[in-house]
C-alpha cells in the first residue's frame, strides 16, 4: 500500500467484462496514468489471457503459434495485481447492488464497470446450423477445431466471401483441405471491393486452389451419422453436405460460418443499458444509461458506429482510460477508417465511396495480366473513394487526400501514379513491403531498416503507425515512407491499422487543432502565452517543444507590436540566431542581398575566418557564404567583425532571394532580376513565417535562379514579370503554380507581400507554402489576392506594419530580445 492510497481510503473497484484487445488496452492505458487507483477484476469467457485476435488467421495457416499471438501473458495480470477470472462468462449485471455475476456464481463488486464484450458471429438461421462440424470463426477454440478437422476430414465449406471467410478458407486449404467458399454476393468482398477488383481476387485465389460458388444461397446443412448418408436422420450427427436453394448439394465435413459479426450486447441489454447497433456510449465512452458503466470496442456504438478495426478501439481505450483515471480530459470524436486488407498475400486497399456511378468521375487503371487494378473516384474535384488491388503502397496517401478533402485538380494527371510520382523521391522504388529484405532501408531520413521495424512491432506489441513512429522513428520525419511502414504493420501485426482521429490535436497538451488555436488567438485577442494556456485550458503549465514555438509564432503573427516574442519558446537556432551543428558548434550565414557581394564584405569574412579559426567555409545553395564550426562564445564577435546583417538561415523566416545576373549583364536577360531580388529581400527581411520561406527571381524564362521550386518565384519576361507560388525543392520537389502576370516591380512587391501575409496569418506552424496552398486550394488564394483588390492591399499593408522596425538580431540585441548571457561565461 503506498502513501497516497492511505489518505484516499480503500481503493475503488473496477471490473472489466471481456478479456479482449480493446478492454485490456484500456487497462494498460489506465495503469500508465493511475496505477494505484483501482482494484481491478477481469472476466474472460475464454480460457486464455489477452491475445491478438487479428492474428488467428496466420495461426490457422500454420505461420504462427498461439503462444506467439499472446499480448498479455498471465504474469502481466499478476504483476499489476489484477484478479483474472478465465473461462467465466458474466451472465448478469446487478446495477442496484453494483455487482456482476458469472455463470458459475462468481461475483465481483464494482464502483466502475467497463463492458468490452466485443462481437459475436452471425449464424445463418438455417436447418442444420447446430450439427457437429458447423462452427464460426471468432476465437482460439474455433481455430483449434478447424486445425483438428483438417487432420481428419477432406471437404470444407466456408459460408461468406468477406475478409474473415477468405482467411479461414485460405488457412484450411494450406492445411490440406479442399475448400469451397459459398458467397451470396456476385463478387467477393463486395463491401470493400468493386466488381473488377473482386473478380481479380477470385481468379488469384482460384489459381491457388480455392473453389467458389458465388450468388449462391444456402438452404440447409445436411447431417448424418459420422457424416455419412446412410439413410438416417439428416438433422443430427455431423454435417456431410451443404444444400442450396436450387436443390444442389456439395460435400462438407466442416462448415465455417463467416457471414458477418454483430456487437455482443446481450448482457448489457439484459441489464437495461440502452443499445442500438451496439452499447450506446458518449464521447467519454460512458454508457448513456449509467454513468458508472463504460464500454469500448466492437460492442460499443459511438455516434451510431460500432468500429471493428483495432486503431479506433485503441483510441477509445485511451480516452476511456483518462476518464477512469479521473483526469476527465480527452474526448473520442470518432475515427475515419479505410480498409487495407491482407488476404493470403494479396494486397487490397479500399476507402470511402469506391463504387462511383452517376455524378462521380472515375479514373481507372487496369492491368489484369500483372494483377494490378486501381480505381479512384472523384466528385467535385475531391477524391472521395479509392479501390486498389495488387499495388497498395499509395493507399495511405489516397486515404489522406480523401480525409482532408484536398482539391485534386492540380495533381489530377499524376494522381493515379501515386505520391512518389508527384515528387522526385519517395519510397526508393519499393512498392511491395513484403518483398523487401530485412536489411533494406525503409525510412531514409532516420535510417530505419525493415528488420528493425518488424522487430519493434513484434517485440513491443505495436499496433498503430503512431506507435511505430515513436519507437523506431520510421516515417516520423518526412513521412514519404508512411505507406511502406503501414504495410509492414499489416504484415507483421496483422489486420488493419489505417484509422486516424478526425481532428488532429497540436500536441498532447491540448485537444485543439492548429486551426482552433489560431482562431481562438484571433477572436479572443490573446496576446501572451499565459493567456492562451488559461483561455484554452492547456493541460501543461508551460507547453512542450511542439506547441510552445507554434503558440509563440501565432501570437506574434496575429498581433504584431502587441504580443511579446518569447525567446524561451523558440528552438535553439532562433534563440542563438545561428544554426546548431552536430558537435554543438554553430554556423553563421550573413545576408548577401540578392546573392551579391563585394570585396570589402569578402575581406571581412576572410579576416573573421582567420581570427576565429573557423574550420569550414562553404557556399550555400541560396547564393550565400556559410561559416561552419563557430564556437557559441565567438558568435557575437563574428557577427560584429563581419558587419553584415543576419541571414536568418537558422529561422522559420525569409531565408534567401536567389537571383540570376539579369539584364544588367546577361545577353539573354529581359529584366533586371538582381535589382528585383534585392528589392524583394530588403522588403521582406526579418519576416517570421510558419516555416522557412525562399524566393527567387530570374531575368528571363531560361530561369537560371530556379524560381519554379520556390515559395515565391518571379520570372522576368519581355512584358513584365510572371509570379509563381508554393513551389518546394525539399523532401518532395513540387513545381510552383503559375499565379499571375505583373507589369511593374511595385506590383511584384505588393502581390508577393499579400501572398506572404495570407500565409503568415492562416498557415499552421511548420506548414510550408506548398502544404498551405494544397490545404486551402489555389483558387482560394487567387480569390483573396487577384480578385479582391482592397483585400490584397490591406494584406500588404498589414505585412509592412508588422515588419516595420524589425530589429536585426545580430546587432540590436535588446530590441530582438537576445539573451546575451548564453554567449558569456558565468
Amino acid at each position: 500500500m503506498n502513501a497516497s492510497s492511505k489518505f484516499l481510503g480503500p481503493k475503488q473497484k473496477l471490473v472489466l467484462i471481456g478479456n479482449g484487445m480493446a478492454g485490456v488496452r484500456t487497462l494498460e492505458e489506465l495503469l500508465k496514468m493511475a496505477p494505484d487507483l483501482y482494484d481491478i477484476t477481469v472476466f474472460g469467457a475464454e480460457p486464455h489471457p489477452n491475445y491478438n485476435r487479428i492474428l488467428l488467421s496466420p495461426v490457422l495457416a500454420g505461420e504462427q503459434t498461439i503462444e506467439e499471438i499472446i499480448l498479455n501473458p498471465l504474469d502481466w495480470y499478476a504483476d499489476n495485481n489484477i484478479t483474472l477470472h478465465l473461462s467465466k462468462t458474466v451472465t448478469q449485471i446487478d446495477r442496484i447492488r453494483r455487482k456482476v455475476i458469472a455463470s458459475d456464481g462468481t461475483e465481483a463488486d464494482y464502483d466502475r464497470l467497463l463492458i468490452a464484450t466485443g462481437s459475436v458471429p452471425f449464424i445463418l438461421p438455417i436447418p442444420g446450423k447446430d450439427l457437429d462440424g458447423v462452427i464460426a470463426y471468432r476465437d482460439i477454440a474455433d481455430t483449434n477445431e478447424m486445425i483438428d478437422a483438417a487432420t481428419k476430414y477432406q471437404h470444407a465449406v466456408v459460408i461468406g466471401g468477406g475478409l474473415l471467410g477468405l482467411e479461414a478458407a485460405n488457412g484450411l486449404m494450406l492445411r490440406g483441405m479442399q475448400v469451397t467458399v459459398v458467397h451470396i454476393g456476385d463478387w467477393l468482398m463486395e463491401r470493400q471491393l468493386d466488381d473488377v477488383a473482386g473478380d481479380l481476387l477470385r481468379k488469384s485465389l482460384q489459381a491457388r486452389g480455392l473453389k467458389f460458388k458465388l450468388g449462391a444461397q444456402t438452404q440447409a446443412l445436411i447431417g448424418g451419422k459420422d457424416g455419412r448418408a446412410d439413410g438416417e436422420d439428416t438433422t443430427r450427427g455431423r454435417v456431410r453436405a451443404v444444400q442450396f436453394k436450387d436443390g444442389s448439394e456439395i460435400p462438407a465435413d466442416l462448415v465455417v460460418m463467416a457471414a458477418g459479426i454483430r456487437p455482443n450486447t446481450a448482457l448489457a441489454e439484459s441489464a437495461g443499458i440502452h443499445c442500438s447497433r451496439g452499447i450506446v456510449v458518449s464521447d467519454t465512452l460512458q454508457t448513456t444509461t449509467d454513468p458508472r458503466i463504460y464500454s469500448v470496442g466492437e460492442c460499443a456504438a459511438h455516434r451510431g458506429i460500432a468500429y471493428g478495426l483495432v486503431a479506433p478501439l485503441f483510441e477509445q481505450g485511451k480516452v476511456c482510460a483518462t476518464h477512469l483515471a479521473q483526469f476527465g480530459i480527452g474526448r473520442y470524436t470518432g475515427s475515419s477508417v479505410s480498409t487495407k486488407l491482407k488476404v493470403t498475400g494479396i494486397d487490397l486497399f479500399s476507402a470511402g465511396d469506391f463504387t462511383g456511378g452517376e455524378g462521380f468521375e472515375e479514373i481507372v487503371m487496369s492491368d489484369p495480366f500483372a494483377g494490378v487494378y486501381k480505381k479512384l473516384v472523384i466528385k467535385n474535384d475531391q477524391l472521395v473513394g479509392a479501390c486498389l488491388y495488387g499495388d497498395t503502397v499509395d493507399g495511405s496517401w489516397y486515404f489522406k487526400l480523401l480525409r482532408e478533402g484536398r482539391k485534386v485538380a492540380d495533381i489530377r494527371d499524376k494522381l493515379m501514379f501515386g505520391e512518389s510520382n508527384i515528387g522526385d523521391v519517395g519510397h526508393q522504388g519499393h512498392n511491395k513491403a513484403a518483398a523487401m529484405a530485412d536489411s533494406d532501408e525503409v525510412c531514409g531520413c532516420n535510417g530505419v531498416s525493415k528488420g528493425t521495424i518488424c522487430k519493434a512491432i513484434k517485440d513491443k506489441g505495436l499496433f498503430t503507425l503512431d506507435e511505430v513512429r515513436k519507437h523506431t522513428k520510421a516515417s516520423a520525419s518526412c513521412g514519404s515512407c508512411t505507406g511502406l511502414v503501414e504495410q509492414l504493420l499489416m504484415f507483421t501485426a496483422g489486420g488493419d491499422y489505417s484509422a486516424t482521429p478526425k481532428k488532429k490535436a497540436v500536441c498532447a497538451c491540448t485537444d485543439l487543432s492548429h486551426q482552433d488555436v489560431r482562431d481562438a488567438i484571433d477572436k479572443q485577442h490573446l496576446i501572451s502565452l499565459d493567456s492562451v494556456y488559461t483561455a484554452l485550458s492547456w493541460k501543461t503549465p508551460n507547453g512542450c517543444p511542439t506547441c510552445r514555438p507554434a503558440l509563440n509564432y501565432y501570437l506574434i503573427s496575429s498581433w504584431p507590436k502587441e504580443a511579446q516574442d518569447d525567446p524561451q519558446s523558440r528552438a535553439i537556432n532562433e534563440r542563438a540566431h545561428a544554426n546548431i551543428q552536430k558537435d554543438g558548434t554553430y554556423s553563421v550565414i550573413p545576408r548577401m542581398w540578392g546573392g551579391e557581394t563585394n570585396s570589402s564584405e569578402l575581406r571581412r569574412i576572410a579576416d573573421a575566418v582567420d581570427k576565429y579559426k573557423i574550420p569550414t567555409v562553404k557556399v550555400t545553395g541560396g547564393q550565400r557564404i556559410d561559416l561552419l564550426g563557430v564556437k557559441k562564445e565567438d558568435l557575437v564577435g563574428v557577427w560584429k567583425d563581419i558587419g553584415m546583417p543576419s541571414g536568418h538561415a537558422y529561422a522559420k523566416a525569409l531565408r534567401t532571394v536567389k537571383t540570376c545576373v539579369g539584364s544588367e549583364w546577361c545577353r539573354m536577360g529581359t529584366q533586371d532580376s538582381t535589382q528585383m531580388g534585392k528589392d524583394l529581400e530588403r522588403a521582406f527581411v526579418g519576416m517570421y513565417a510558419p516555416h522557412k520561406v525562399k524566393f527567387a527571381v530570374s531575368g528571363c524564362p531560361r530561369n537560371c535562379a530556379e524560381a519554379g521550386i520556390k515559395d515565391v518565384g518571379i520570372i522576368g519576361v519581355d512584358s513584365g514579370w510572371e509570379m509563381y507560388v508554393a513551389g518546394n525543392g525539399g523532401i518532395k520537389t513540387e513545381v510552383a503554380h503559375f499565379f499571375t502576370k505583373l507589369k511593374t516591380a511595385e506590383e511584384v512587391l505588393e502581390y508577393t507581400g499579400a501572398f506572404m501575409q495570407l500565409y503568415r496569418t492562416e498557415g499552421w506552424y511548420l506548414e510550408r507554402t506548398v502544404h498551405y496552398v494544397a490545404r486551402v486550394g489555389l483558387d482560394y488564394v487567387k480569390q483573396k489576392i487577384l480578385d479582391d483588390v482592397e483585400g490584397r492591399r490591406a494584406l500588404w499593408a498589414q505585412l509592412q506594419f508588422a515588419l516595420a522596425g524589425e530589429p536585426d538580431p545580430w546587432f540590436e540585441f535588446d530590441k530582438a530580445k537576445v539573451d546575451l548571457r548564453q554567449f558569456e561565461a558565468l
Binding site: G543, P545, I572, A576, G584, K631, F823, L826
Partner: protein, 125 residues
C-alpha cells in the same frame, strides 16, 4: 557530509533556460531553471547522440534535446519512453538565491565522456 560549492545566483539562469558549468575534466554540467524556479543539474549530454541538453527547450520538469528532440526528465535524467537512456544527474541546492553543486559529484560523475562544445561555461570548477 556533502561539500557544497557556490556556482551562481538563481537569477543568472534564465527562466525555462540553462547555464553551463565547466569541470576540470569530463563533459560540462547543465543547470536548468523551471518556470517555478526549481533548479536541476544534469550532465550536458543527451544519452542518444551526445547533444548538449543545455541548448534545449525547457518545459515542465523536462528538457528536449536540440539535436533530435529526445525528452529528458530534469529530476532523474531519464529519457522519455519509448526512447531509452539516461543521463547523469547532479544534486543541487538553492539557498538564499545561490545555486550550489556538490564538489564530490562534480569531481566524479560522468568523467568517461569527452567535454561537449555548446558555448561558454563557468570559468572553471
Amino acid at each position: 557530509m556533502k561539500e557544497w560549492k557556490n556556482i551562481c545566483a538563481l537569477t543568472d539562469i534564465p527562466v525555462l533556460g540553462s547555464r553551463r558549468v565547466q569541470r576540470s575534466q569530463g563533459p560540462q554540467v547543465a543547470l536548468f531553471r523551471t518556470a517555478d524556479d526549481a533548479v536541476f543539474a544534469l550532465l550536458d549530454r543527451c544519452p542518444h547522440k551526445g547533444g548538449p541538453l543545455s541548448q534545449g527547450i525547457v518545459f515542465g520538469n523536462k528538457v528536449a534535446c536540440p539535436l533530435h528532440n529526445w525528452t529528458i526528465a530534469l529530476d532523474n535524467g531519464q529519457a522519455h519512453a519509448p526512447d531509452e537512456g539516461c543521463t547523469a544527474k547532479f544534486s543541487v541546492k538553492v539557498e538564499a538565491g545561490q545555486v550550489m553543486l556538490c564538489e564530490g559529484e562534480l569531481a566524479s560523475i560522468g568523467l568517461e565522456f569527452e567535454p561537449i562544445k555548446a558555448g561558454p561555461c563557468t570559468r572553471s570548477c
